[in-house]
Symmetry: C2
Subunit: 244 residues, 2 copies
């Protein structure tokens, strides 16, 4: 079996190491790639072809792992050459996934949840052809969500809906506690029901959110846009909170 | 040492069992009490006096554990007779606590967090005289928050601020996931970061909240009233969500 990569950054590099096997040949190309990516390629056990067109034609599974903003362009350019499965691992919206689906025959919508270089990353898949990728369970926990391309992207948004709104709630509650000089006690009393790591985890969430509140706001806006047929009272409040 | 109880329901009954000791005499009265309470008293190892006035006069520590709506009335009636510490364990607002403080000399504001009949309830205390109750650590984990009567009541409100708003967020997020047929997957994917018990705990929160949404709404209104000098975007959204 041949697995081809378009894009060879952190995700691809680590994925290759996870699924290394005598039965699998990995291929990619250095065509138009950055020096950082070429360095990744040189260090990996992977065959380098001249063009991504060749990579696309030869792969049984073609993996696109690029920046979200290039995902559609790459699908448009190479999707038509892919005869096997096209696995899109870019962090894109459900709408972009559906757009990509117009240019690619056997699209599988994927996401790696948990850090790819951690002990237990999980590969989520959706799309009719996901079944044919379940053999990856031998190397990385692989879960098929549904036959519907886009469901993994929706699931990622649902996850963000919760975690980003939770961060906004933590910011509000902890600030309130702080204004009464009871911040430590607030975390302590909640640890009793929320788990021993509540304080550490919450402070890390609060700091992450405050340090990139512009990006988090944009992500909340995308969520509200995508789910625009729903009222989303809490999510809209979270956006307002982050823009405060 | 003599510990007196005004009110002998679940909290008092269990507290007596926890702090039973040869050095402590427990007293109460059946004056005007319900048959259920009298039954509790008869089953307990406690001395029964004719009136609560006598109980108040004789106690080194007088514990008021009644319904929230009677707390102030009881403090007004018996507080003046209490020469020792008056420990109020009723689930009352910070304002009621401060009102009670006008009628009671040595008020300590207390709350038991965690179920009283569980393995690890914790007794939170605030007020100048809390120090004199720290000997209770021998029987139940006892934490002094501060010298300020009312701080325990505020801490309880802060805790509610978080947990009730979190429930509203869970309701919104889970409903959204359900509308895409991805409710199970939503809980599964969040369990990876929120802990294995995320689903069970969240569903229990959602159900508790939906089953008593009127009461939860009232509690959120009290929180918003009390903290009226703060903007509380998330809490107000939670109230709106529950009233939907």
């Amino acid at each position: 079996m041949i697995i081809g990569f378009i894009g060879f950054g952190k995700v691809s590099k680590n994925l290759l190491n996870l699924i290394k096997s005598d039965d699998i040949t990995f291929i990619t190309s250095a065509e138009g790639r950055s020096s950082k990516t070429i360095e990744n390629i040189e260090r990996a056990d992977i065959e380098v072809l001249d063009t991504f067109k060749e990579v696309s034609i030869k792969s049984d599974i073609l993996i696109s792992a690029n920046s979200p903003k290039n995902a559609l362009e790459i699908a448009k350019r190479y999707g038509k050459f892919a005869k096997g499965i096209y696995l899109d691992l870019n962090n894109i919206s459900p709408d972009t996934t559906l757009e990509i689906n117009k240019h690619v025959e056997n699209l599988v919508d994927g996401a790696i949840i948990g850090k790819i270089d951690s002990d237990n990353p999980i590969l989520y898949l959706s799309g009719l052809k996901s079944d044919e990728l379940l053999f990856l369970n031998e190397f990385i926990e692989t879960i098929k969500i549904s036959d519907n391309v886009g469901d993994v992207a929706i699931l990622k948004l649902l996850r963000s809906t919760y975690t980003k709104s939770l961060s906004a709630l933590l910011i509000e509650s902890a600030d309130l506690a702080k204004s009464y000089g009871l911040e430590d006690e607030f975390f302590d009393i909640l640890s009793l029901t929320e788990g021993d790591d509540f304080k550490e985890k919450s402070l890390s969430r609060i700091n992450n959110t405050l340090n990139s509140s512009k990006r988090k706001s944009e992500e909340l806006e995308e969520i509200i846009d995508y789910f625009d047929n729903q009222e989303l009272i809490m999510v809209k409040a979270a956006l307002k909170k982050l823009n405060q």
